[in-house]
Symmetry: C2
Subunit: 189 residues, 2 copies
DNA sequence: TTCTGACATGTCACATTTGACATGTCAGAA
DNA sequence: TTCTGACATGTCAAATGTGACATGTCAGAA
């Protein structure tokens, strides 16, 4: 279970409320790495506080509580990150599952789905390129997650696009949607 | 919950026993898309059989039962795959989580971990290139998952390697060994 | 002033997953 | 023959996660 370490990691960068953490999961972290809803986050913060890994450092308006990681929490996070796990962690990713299950469809259906995947990947990559251009910043600290996520996500989308293109090629198909804007430099992979 | 569809997808390609499905999850599917252990798979096969989406078509030695997808199951799978979900599915990937949490470490530690990630990614890519060279095959049918997984995984590893290289570059040219300024890790940000 | 939407935290029943435990078969090697 | 390891399936308690429901604050717009 990685949720406590995800929370520790976010709080190690900057103290935050449960609400702010929930937004971080929705935006950067949860999109590529580890999703969690507020109904898991709030109870887990309580458990981390009981274990002395985080503490409430401030209370604000609307009952908000700001949590910060303690020294013990920082030690726990650091040792978790520096210990390389022997086995690869379990993966759950519905999008990727859908991609793999294509081999169970007949080629016509597979082509339809692959075309959609390629288009989505291109759109996702374009979006992240825009975000990257608008938000430069340092790799560590409060911008770190966003930067790492954007750069990782961009390469991820590009890889998916290349993969989908390869798969379509294997199926002996053209990708009509995908070729219409091929001349636009902003859309060139 | 995607497990039933994952099973349907595997069985749509080729009838298999619970044991064989478990191995498929351990090998191709579970490495990149969706992990499940035998303790989820066997009960889920029972539920799918109750719903008439799969059926037992043969019984073999050691009590093994071969399941095959029914017409109803094939319909269910096809409509699931052809319906594009409005929201991106929830992602759980401990490896990626570890990458993102790097921004909570001081640069020296981050560099150590990133170097390991880059090395792992390179090794993974090399391994898959070897596998690909040794096992050519068609995209659909019983080899489909393996082919899709290998090609996807290869691009994934390459993307991770590029990303880790980019991140190391962002952290500066300094190597961990070169580092002489002993800043307190807890107060780096 | 009233309303809307973001802020902010929580509980609880239900579903799902995990890890430990359990059982037994069969082929091939020592 | 005995032993080992892969084959093959299962249960069950405990841990976790999900979605629905619940409550209330505060700022700014209409």
């Amino acid at each position: 279970m990685s949720l406590p370490h995800a929370l520790l990691g976010l709080l190690a960068v900057e103290p935050a409320s449960g609400y702010a953490l929930t937004k971080a999961f929705d935006e950067s972290l949860g999109r590529y790495a580890w999703y969690a809803g507020h109904t898991s986050i709030y109870p887990e913060l309580g458990r981390l506080a009981e274990r002395g890994l985080v503490e409430v450092t401030a209370e604000g308006p609307r009952g908000s509580r700001t949590y910060a990681v303690t020294d013990a929490g920082r030690d726990e996070l650091r040792s978790w990150l520096l210990t390389r796990p022997s086995e690869a962690g379990k993966v759950r990713n519905e999008s990727v599952l859908r991609m793999f299950l294509l081999s169970a469809l007949d080629p016509a259906d597979a082509r339809t789905v692959l075309t959609g995947i390629a288009a989505d990947a291109r759109a996702g990559a374009d979006e992240l390129r825009t975000i990257r251009a608008d938000h430069p910043g340092p790799l560590t600290g409060r911008n770190g997650f966003g930067q790492l996520a954007a750069e990782f996500g961009l390469r991820q989308y590009e890889a998916v696009h290349e993969w989908a293109t390869w798969a379509l090629d294997q199926l002996g198909a053209q990708t009509p949607d995908d070729r219409t804007d091929a001349a636009d430099p902003a859309h060139t992979f």
